[in-house]
């Protein structure tokens, strides 16, 4: 719809929208996170849901213990190699449309424990992460900002057309492969379709 016409109509008191915008507006304001804490960042996640920061202003105070009822997985804390298969399995159990926020340095890259032999170097090797929050741990305000960023992303998602959103795309995978223990490390070490290491610049 023409933006000028829409603005003219809104001056006349006529509200126009599309089904896609209405649908995205509705679901972006009721994102239910999975009640899922891994380590230190989980405490700041709880603090964000308490009175001072009050995540319910953004419609996300309903922390669901079951993945079947959740829309958003907040990976809050260090993902170890023992825990990574379970995180991926929990994600697979969530109904689409579903989103992932990687909260904290450990979840996005391994963080201070990156040198450890048992620490996964970022959950984006196995899951499609929508928003990354740096910080160790991020403040609750940072989590709220990530939630607002996610809401903006959801409002702009096309439901049809050449490049639809992930949940509306029949070609997108419904599940992601769950890693298992190999002889040395998790196998596969990464999901090739999701994560590729940055190319190393080589001098001429």
């Amino acid at each position: 719809m023409d933006e000028g016409l829409r603005s003219e109509l809104s001056k006349q008191g006529v509200f126009t929208t599309t089904l896609q915008e209405l649908y995205n507006w509705g679901r972006s304001n009721s994102v239910w996170p999975l009640n899922f804490g891994l380590a230190c960042c989980a405490i700041e996640m709880i603090a964000a849901s308490m009175a001072r920061f009050d995540i319910s202003r953004f419609g996300s105070e309903v922390f669901r213990p079951s993945p079947r009822q959740a829309d958003l997985m907040i990976v809050a804390g260090t993902v170890t190699k023992k825990m990574a298969p379970l995180v991926v399995r929990l994600y697979n159990q969530m109904p689409a449309p579903k989103y992932v926020i990687a909260m904290g340095a450990c979840a996005i890259s391994g963080g201070p424990f990156k040198q450890g032999y048992n620490v996964l170097k970022g959950i984006d090797r196995y899951l499609p992460v929508d928003v990354h929050i740096p910080g160790c741990p991020p403040r609750p305000e940072a989590l709220l900002h990530a939630l607002i960023t996610l809401q903006e992303k959801m409002r702009g998602e096309p439901l049809a057309g050449p490049a639809p959103a992930r949940h509306a795309d029949p070609a997108a995978p419904g599940e992601y492969p769950v890693p298992a223990y190999g002889p040395y490390d998790l196998t596969p070490a990464k999901n090739e379709e999701l994560w590729r290491p940055a190319p190393l610049p080589r001098g001429e």
Binding site: N35, A39, M50, G77, P137
Partner: protein, 416 residues
Amino acid sequence: MKREADEQGLIGALSTGDISPDQPAWHIASPQPLPAPYELKPMPSGTAGLEGEVIEVSIGPHHPSTHGVFRMDVVLDGERVLRLKPVFGYLHRNHEKLGEQGTYLSAMPFTDRLDYFCSLTNNWAYALAVEKLAGLNVPERAQYLRVITAELTRVLNHACMIGFLLQELGAMGTPLMYAFREREKILDLFEALTGSRMMCNYLRFGGCRCDLPPGWAEQCTRVVEGLPRFFDEFERLLATNEIIMARTQGIGVLPADLAISAGVSGPGLRASGVNYDVRKVDGYGIYPRFEFGVPLGEHGDVYDRYMMRMLEMRESVKILQQALRDLPTGPVIDPKAKLRNFRPPAGEAYGRLEAPKGELGFYLISDGGPSPYRYRIRPPSFINLTVLEDMCIGHTLMDAVAILGSVDIVMGEVDR
């Protein structure tokens, strides 16, 4: 190098089978096993003639009541717990190995992430061990700052622990909201002092990193003066609540002799009536200067462990008032302490203190190099957790959740 030679020797010995356990001396009679110092609760009668089977349930690692990524494998007869096996390792972050790879000072930020509610007491325990190893002195003002921050941490931890315990008993939100309201006040103080809300990284070997910002002591005094009112409110809300008393009294009794033989420490031990507080026993820092009591429980059940936290917070406020009153001026770090190129002499040291969850100890071996040869942590949560099965057997599954909450574990410390 010596360390590499040791490791090579150990690996070589393991692969050739040279290391074998000592053979038991056959002529010495093995000691008779003592009768169990506790008694298992008898199964409720009336189920003997019924048909059925025991079932195994795995609770966790993703479960809202298991404090993070803890797993219990439970064998149930109906709703009663027959056996309970804790499964750890879902948050094993290689803390001890990383501590041996870096310098002494670079392990200090990792200690923040051990028990992420109480970063300042973790810092202090590590600093105590290193100061013992290197023979460093701590200036007066730094000692007072350590006591003030440690006792604020204790209040914070106990308030949040009670909130989480009651959330697991079904009081969704309300007590936890009260606790987090006070936590935010204390975290504001920590943020003004150290720059970070949770991961403070404040202590250094031989003192503290920085002095108080202007107005901090007055703000801290105001917060401390407001704490007793919060305790009164919290107790009026909870202590005589009928549901809480029914759910916690007589549940998960830990006998004193079992607690001692299992190495339980902290409020869980004192709830069983054992008068053991490292602040009194060791008198580390400047704790002998303060007047405070050590509350003791009578029954050792979940209610006593809950009440122990309430009473300890009131004692902490007494210490805080005395410390803030007597806070001296002066430097906050020993001028002889080296931050760079710090190499303590060869030797070993064990530093321990009364963390909010129990006795937290660091054991260090130095070979004179820039990084510790051996770096070992004695985490209170992990050792308090070993008696979980003994406390849970015979109770229902919902009581097992309450008992787990009363032990007060943090998985960062259990798995390290």
